[in-house]
Symmetry: D2
Subunit: 336 residues, 4 copies
């Protein structure tokens, strides 16, 4: 393995631009040499913004370039699995945005291709690299709070996506809760059973589109701990991202992040400004840290910190959660 890694990136939308900038500006050992997007103008604009030499509208150009060792897949979700497979067959290491797919057969086919090719695959569960979640993980692993008994994840978006998006999103469990299923696994390990209580409380049009907008999911972990995930598509005060782990020796809980640490006291109230509202602002350092971790694992030839099974498992939990909600009963993960 060389001292730097030559990379190509596909998909120069919002998250693709974030990763392109990170790779060019802040990741030691990364050489982002090419970007592609089916929208060539988008690819060109991204390349110009960050000084990337090669541009194309065809993903194959990354795969055909023998000097490129790894690809970063930020294109639309339906392309994830085929692009993973093709990259693996071309012998490239792969970073892919979540989720691989909503269908387990498709996921399994992609993961098989990766395994056959012997390349490395990392999934973009960026929240694992957030300073708060990492600190809680360290507290668990370091024994600061003893054996975990209970977990609570609060994960509420500031506002729902457009109904048009809801229709094609695969549903809240696959589109939004998927991050929380991953966080649950990251913190407490494998899930054994899931029970979902949910409803349409924010906007009836979301219900008409066949989806839910509010949910409480109970997780039973294989180690005996119990957890909950609280989701809402609309927290009017902003992006609400909190975790609490309670164990035999204590608890660790995170608060939201704020634009400043100023408290105001007036004749009416003691107050502070609203928490960060936009996920790219809230989680920007985590996107940078995950890309650093990807490149570092390549440079050091170490296992990826978020691998293929981490891409598959939360989809399985989402499938179980949806079944639980529809049939109103606890569903074993082994059922799926």
């Amino acid at each position: 393995m060389s001292k730097t890694i030559r990379l190509g990136l596909v998909g120069t939308g919002r998250i693709g631009q974030i990763h392109a900038r990170t790779l060019k500006q802040t990741v030691p050992g990364a050489e982002l040499v090419a970007v592609t997007d089916v929208n060539l103008d988008s690819a060109r604009s991204c390349a110009a913004a960050y000084g990337i030499g090669q541009v194309a509208d065809d993903y194959r150009r990354l795969l055909d370039d023998k000097t490129i060792e790894a690809v970063v897949i930020c294109s639309s979700t339906d392309t994830h699995a085929p692009f993973i497979t093709q990259a693996a067959e071309a012998g490239k290491h792969i970073f892919c945005e979540k989720p691989i797919a909503a269908d387990l057969d498709i996921i399994d086919a992609a993961l098989s291709a990766v395994e056959r090719a012997g390349v490395k695959l990392m999934l973009g569960f960026n929240r694992r690299f957030d300073a708060n979640h990492q600190r809680i993980k360290r507290a668990i692993e370091g024994g600061e709070i003893g054996t975990p008994h209970l977990l609570h994840i609060i994960s509420r978006d500031p506002s729902p996506p457009p109904v048009e998006y809801v229709r094609v999103s695969g549903g809240m469990f696959f589109d939004m809760t998927i991050h929380d299923f991953d966080m649950a696994r990251f913190l407490l390990g494998e899930v054994d059973e899931v029970y979902a209580a949910a409803g349409v409380m924010v906007d009836p049009r979301i219900g008409e589109a066949g989806d839910i907008d509010t949910a409480v999911v109970t997780l039973k972990f294989k180690n005996g701990a119990v957890g909950t995930i609280d989701n809402s598509r609309q927290a009017v005060y902003g992006y609400d991202q909190r975790v609490e782990v309670f164990g035999s020796k204590g608890s660790a809980r995170s608060d939201n992040l704020y634009p400043n640490a100023v408290t105001f006291s007036t004749a009416q109230t003691v107050s502070r400004d609203l928490p960060l509202n936009f996920f790219l602002e809230r989680y920007l350092p985590s996107y940078q840290a995950e890309m650093e971790a990807f490149v570092r694992a390549l440079l050091d030839d170490k296992p990826m910190p978020v691998g293929g099974t981490d891409g598959r498992a939360p989809v399985v939990i989402a499938i179980a959660a949806l079944r639980s909600y529809r049939e109103n009963r606890p569903v074993k993960i082994a059922e799926v």
Copy 2:
């Protein structure tokens, strides 16, 4: 109704002494004239401490005293229902510690006696009178947070009761969670369905005694909201009593109470002292406020703030929760 209320109190254990002192010292319009306890020494000691004139070991003495208008029942749980019935038949108004009983037939018999006699009955769900919980209730009723969608109750004891007590306690749902079921009803109204995930995580001897020590109970409310209750018999950092209600216009959440508001910063950590550990310290003002509310309702001839149905409903939820836990399925309240 006279300008003051003459009361008798039965059961001079820990909570009985709290109520005796409150009635003698801080409740306007209350005249506590007699205390009884099967342990006559205990009754005498309480009477001496607070300057109460009449003492007896027989509860009947309160009922036979025509000048006593109301009784405060703080004796052991198994006496609650018969004492309520006898007091009602004697025409006395009644304050009774929770729970009335664990058996619905027994509860219903007692409530029928109350209804027949036309006396007033208040149940001792003191947490409803806590400043934090009251403030959240006011926020809901005042529309500060819009329509409630989600509720979370964290209710963890600092340490488990002796195993001998666990054996006769009726089980955690009836002994501990009962307060939280009441809190859920207080804040969001009637419950429609319950799902309980629970286990023995704190002490295996609790499991050997046939009980659980850790639980997450999911509640579906009739108004469509969803809630959870998080219980542990042992939070090593102290008594953990927090509530969060999330609604269409915002959220209200309470923190624990602390012995002081001092923050220490040293070379190791930024810290504060542990939260209040003992329920009588944490909830003392609520015990005083509930007794004031009881006497005020008598003086003003108003309905009791926590009536007989409030005594019955959480027992029904506890029965449903236990069934849910045993059969691992959501249980409708209407089933019970």
Copy 3:
């Protein structure tokens, strides 16, 4: 010394009633047997409210009663010194509200009488008994924050007193800052020099009455530490009482006290209710604790926790502060 102390109280105004209730209801070993007030109706009303047997309009009645061992002086400030002297001469132990007087000769005469009589005297600097200030004191004494270097006292009233009161109050340093001078001594010991920057910022009528309403006083302590006191007659958000001590091993700082621990998040702001506004509410437990300490010191025949020199020293600092403000220069305490 008997197992209980028989006490008489003079002055049944606001603070006198607080002490009367405390002595009757919560102080072990205290027997409050008589109250007097020049306003006999006030004395009668207080006696009736708390069940005190003897009532009079003449303070001498307390002194003539051989069975009374101690007096609690809550009458107007101009009576403090003469009442202390008379009580001492009558052989009574004394609790006296602050300040003894604004004139050092008068104070010294009263303290001499106390010394000659060999009775005990405690001054009513209640804040020393507040849980926050006590905790900071313990942190200093226990070495938790090392050698103190810096002290900051924030002490702001919710609203200014009537201008009529301002005219006879002796001025802000004697009426309000006196508590903070005592707190400074309580926490860091003797003061060596003082510099006062002050002004009229809240209400020009206070300036017309010859007083100030806002001040920052710098204190140099004999141990080398430096401190500040921040005073305002009007904090629109409520009673602001905070202390920070910074030392070689860390810092301890206290926040205000609040009526509840509930945080609200809405589309506009993250907020909580205003801090406690009324000093009797904010400091009620400290009034109770100081009275317990007084009675306990009598029962145990121990030195008073706040003695005569603690009554004199803050007056000296106030005199120095006023001189500093008028002459705009640092003033040594030894000058006064």
Copy 4:
């Protein structure tokens, strides 16, 4: 003025590297084309790290390059004034790290050169661009807290500089408090009088080197408000940077910044990790924001947000503070 600004930077030490990276990576419209340092290796290393084309050991190379419109001066303090003068004479706009100098004649000469040349000068008081301080400034200007009465600045370093540095630093008021004098002016405007109480509490060697390590400076502002600055060279818990402004309609106060928002509760304590310790970490966004502001003012041909008088005024206050400390008396700014 072109759509981009070509810049040269002198001094590639710690802060110079920060500015170089910022100008290359995050400032729209900035073209950093050259760096110089008397240590040529340092300049080369910086140029290589951020892809800067021209490198030299002679500052004149920046001035002789006609295509360079502005210079960023990050060299040692003694070079600031001459480099400003030379840059002005060469017609370059100037960003200069604080302070210009400790001698007013030298400062005035440099500012005269700037004025004669008609170039723009910005001083590097980065804290003005910190989100917390900016928010408090906005609160004042927006009337959120009414007319300011009182200001408190807490500004404590995590650990003292080496004694060798202390000897040549110009003294704490010039080296450390200078930032706080600027902050005071930024928030409340011009200072009229200053009184400094200070001492050697952290390390006697600092005293032997002729300096102080702990200070409380009282500021009287021209608008009548009063403020304090609290400085210590050693806060063992980390970098302590807090501000409180109290006004007629309320207060605004900032807390420190932390690496995460996680709270731990154990059997011993409720705690969180220490605040950010390193000024470059704590204030990194402010360094980036000030550089953006500099370039934006050039692009838009607007006045600099921190100009020459802002570079001179805090030095005048520092001179007054030192005189106040030495003579132990309040010193008028007009005296200096």
